[in-house]
C-alpha cells in the first residue's frame, strides 16, 4: 500500500548529516566508506568484548562475599531473553530485506518490532540486575559482581544504543526524507544489531551455560 508509505512532506531541507550523503562515488573496494567503517568498527568492538569476557572468565568464581554464579543465575529466564534477542535478529533481517525492496512500510514496521524486542530484552536484563541486587550481589560486592555487571552492562548499553538508533531511523523515515541510499542506513544499523546479538550468544554461552 503505497498510501501508507512514508510521506515525504514539506520543507526544503535535505540535511540530516548523519543519515545522508552516500555519494555514489566509486570506491576502490566497492564497499561504501560507511559500510567499510562499520565493519572495521565492529572488528574493534570484538576486542572490547574480548577483554571484558576474559575479565569475567577469570573472575567468575571469585566471590569472597555475596552469592556466586551458581546461586543466582536463572537460566530459564535468560534463555527466554536470549531467544527474544535472537528473534530480533530475524526481524532485523526482514527490515533490511524490506528496505532493499524499497518497501518503506514494512521497513518501518520491522524496525519497530526489532526495537520492541530489543527493549524487551533490556527490560529482562534490568529485571535480572534488580533481583540480583536484592539477592545480595552488588557492583562492589565481589569480583564476580564487578565483572558480571561490567560485562553484561556494557552489552546492555550496546543494545540500548541500538534501540535508539532503530527508533531514530524509524522517526526519520516517517517524518523526513532520508537522502541517499535508504537501504544502506538500515543495513548499517542491521550490521550493528547482528553484532550485538552475536556477542550475546557468546556471553550467554560462556557466562550462563558453562558452569564455573
Amino acid at each position: 500500500m503505497a498510501d501508507i508509505a512514508v510521506h515525504d512532506v514539506d520543507h526544503a531541507h535535505t540535511d540530516h548529516g548523519a543519515y545522508e550523503d552516500h555519494a555514489p562515488h566509486a570506491t576502490s573496494t566497492g564497499l561504501s566508506n560507511n559500510k567499510l567503517s562499520m565493519w572495521l568498527f565492529l572488528g574493534s568492538e570484538c576486542l572490547l568484548f574480548g577483554g571484558l569476557i576474559s575479565t569475567y572468565m577469570l573472575y567468575r568464581g571469585r566471590h569472597e562475599a555475596g552469592p556466586g554464579p551458581d546461586q543466582i543465575f536463572d537460566i530459564p529466564l535468560t534463555s527466554v531473553s536470549s531467544f527474544i534477542l535472537l528473534m530480533s535478529s530475524l526481524t532485523m533481517v526482514l527490515a533490511v530485506n524490506s528496505a532493499k525492496r524499497k518497501d518503506d512500510r514494512n521497513t518501518s514496521l520491522w524496525l519497530t518490532i526489532t526495537a520492541l524486542l530489543g527493549a524487551l530484552f533490556v527490560g529482562g536484563q534490568v529485571y535480572e540486575f534488580t533481583s540480583f541486587y536484592h539477592e545480595g550481589l552488588g557492583f562492589t560486592t565481589s569480583l564476580f559482581g564487578s565483572s558480571f555487571y561490567t560485562l553484561t552492562g556494557f552489552h546492555g548499553v550496546h543494545v540500548t544504543l541500538g534501540i535508539i538508533m532503530l527508533m531514530v531511523v524509524v522517526f526519520i523515515m516517517q517524518r523526513d526524507r532520508i537522502t541517499g541510499d535508504k537501504a544502506e542506513v538500515v543495513e548499517l544499523v542491521g550490521l550493528y544489531w547482528h553484532f550485538v546479538d552475536v556477542v550475546w550468544v557468546i556471553i550467554f554461552t560462556l557466562v550462563y551455560l558453562i558452569p564455573s
Partner: protein, 670 residues
Amino acid sequence: MAIIERPAAVPATVDAVAAPEVVTPTQALGAFRRPVSSTGWKSWLFTVDHKKLGIMYGAVSLFFFLVGGIEALLIRLQLAAPDNTVLSADQYNQMFTMHATTMVFLFVMPMAAAFANYFLPLQIGARDVAFPRINALGFWLFLFGGLFLNSSWLLGGAADGGWFMYSPNSSALFSPSHGIDFWVLGLQITGIASLIGALNLIVTVLNMRAPGMKLMQMPVFTWMVLVVQFLLLFAMPVITVALFLLSFQRNFGATFFDVNQGADPLLWQHLFWIFGHPEVYIIILPSFGIISEVLPTFARKPLFGYKFVVFSGAAIGFVGWGVWAHHMFASGLGPVSVAVFSVATMLIAIPTGVKIVNWTLTLWGGKLWFTTAMLFAIGVIVLFTIGGVSGVTHAVAPSDTQQTDTYHIVAHFHYVIVGGAVMGLFAGFYFWWPKMFGKMLNERLGKWNFWLMFFGVNLTFGPMHILGLQGQPRRMVVWPEKLTGDGFFDMHFWNQIASVGSFVIGLGVLIFVINIFWTWKKAPIAPLDPWDARTLEWITASPPKEHNFDRIPTVHALDEFFHRKYEEVDTADGPRLVKVKSAEEILAEEESHADAHIHLPSPSYWPIVLAAALPIIAYGVIYNLMLSVVGTAVLLLAVFGWCLEPSVADDSDYDPPAGGDSTKELATLG
C-alpha cells in the same frame, strides 16, 4: 515590548524584489552558519583539511615532545649523582610516568599521525580522507586529551604509577592523588582519537586510492601506516577495557584489582601488554615507512625487495599480537608460557631483520646522496640494529630475568624508540618539509641537528647498557654510592655520561627548533622537486593546493612520479635512465587538465566543540558528576550540531556568498 522583533537587515546580495518574501536560511539560523574562510585563525580552528590537521598534529606533538624532553632532562639531572636531591621521590615518580606517557601517547603516536594525515591522501592520490570531520575530531580529542592529562600537574600532582600503571599500585589506596584518574581519563580521550583516526585512515587507504593504484603499488609509508591503523583498531579497545576497569575501581568502587577480594593483579598486566606490545609496533612502523621512502629517494633506486618489506611489516603487525607476555617473564607466569612467549619473541626478530637487510641492500649499488634526511634514515638503520640485537638478548627468557627492570632495558627500548622511531620522524621532517611548507629546512643546521642527536643518543643510552648489566634497576629516584663498584668506570661515571648525553640530545633538538624558525623567517622558496623524489605526493604543488590534485592521477607503477620523470633510453652502452620531464612540467600538465568541479568538505565548528565536551565530562568524573552532566549536554549539543550540518556549506554560508559553481563538497558522513 517590541524589542526582539526587529527584522534582520536586508542581505545585500539578495534580489531586491524577491528578498523580503523569504529570508535566506542561514542568516535566519545565525550561529549555525558554517565557517568557510580558508585563511586566518578560524580556518585552522574549524578546518577539516587533512593537510592543515596534519600540520596541527605535528605542531602539537612537537610541543609535547619538548615537554616530555624537559621531563627527561630533569630525570637525568636527578640521576647524574648518587643520592641526588634535584627531585623528590614523589616528583621523580610523576616525572618518569609522565615522560613515558607524553613521549608515547602525545609525541610519537600523534607525530606519526601527523605524517599519516598529511601524506597518506597525497600518496594514494586522494583529495582528502574518507571522513574529514572525524579526522578533525581526532585531532582535537588528541589535543584536549593531552592538555587534560597534563593539567594534572597543576591539580595535585600527575600520575605516579609508571606508564605501565601496574595494579594494585594504581589503586586509590596506594596512589591517593588524582594523578592516575587524570591519566586514565586522558588516555581514554586520546584513545578515542586513535581509534576513529584508525577507522578513517583504513577506509581512506582501502577505498580512495587513485585509479590504477593496486595495493602492491602503494608507497611503503602508506603500507606501514595501514598496518599501524589495524594495530590501533585492535589494540585500543583492549587498553580501553583495562582503563575502564581501573577507573571503575578508582571512581566507582569496583573490585577488579582488589587483592583482598581475590583479584589477580596479573589481569592488568595481560590487558596492558596485549595493548602495549602492539603499541611498540604502532610506534616504530611509521618510522620504518618514512625511511623506506627516504632511502630509495637518496639512493636513486627503488626499495630493495618492496614485497618483502611490505609483508615483513604486516608480519610484524601480526606476530606482534603473540608476544605480549615477554614483558612479564619475571611476573611468575609459569615455565610453559614463558617458553612459548620466548620463542615467539625470537620469531618476531626475523621480519624485523628482513627490513634491516632490505634497507641495507637498497643502499647497495645506489648513488647515495647524504642529505640530512638520508643521514637520519641511515641513523635509524644503525641505531635500530643495536636496539634490535639487544632485544634478542631479552627474548632469551632466563637472561631477561636478569635484565628486566634494569637500565639495560631502558637502553634497549630507547635505542629502538629514539634511535628507530624518533630519528625516523626527523628523517621525515627534513624530507617532507619542502612539500609541506614550500621551504627547505636548512641543511647545515640539519647536519648539526643529526650529528648532535646521533652522538647524544649513543652517549645517553649506550652507557645504560652497562648500568643495567651492573645491576642498576629502573625507576629509582636514587642509586646508592655503595653499589657503584670499583674503579674509574663505575656506575657513577656512566650515569654522568648518560646525563651529559641527554643534554647533547637536547641541544640537537634545540637546533631543530631553531632551524624551524630560521626556515620560517629566512629560507628561500624551495624547488618543486628538491630531492628528485619518487612517489605521488611530489606531483602536487608545494605546498599542495587545498584540493591536492588538479586532476586525480592515474597510477601505472610503484614510484609513479619517478617513472613519469625518467624513461629508459637505449644507448650504445646499453639502457640508461634519462630524465625526460621535470617536476614543473608534470605539474603544469596536471594543472592544464584540472577537473572542472572539485568538491571539498567545508569546515565545521562541531569537531572542536564535541572534543571539548570530553575533558569536561572527565573533570566531572574526578571532581563532581554534575560537571559531567554539563559536559554531556555539550556533547549532545555538538552531536546535534554535527547531524544538523550538511557536509557541505550552503552557498549562503559564504561571506560573501559564493556562486553556485564554486569548489566544495566531498560528500561524506564524517
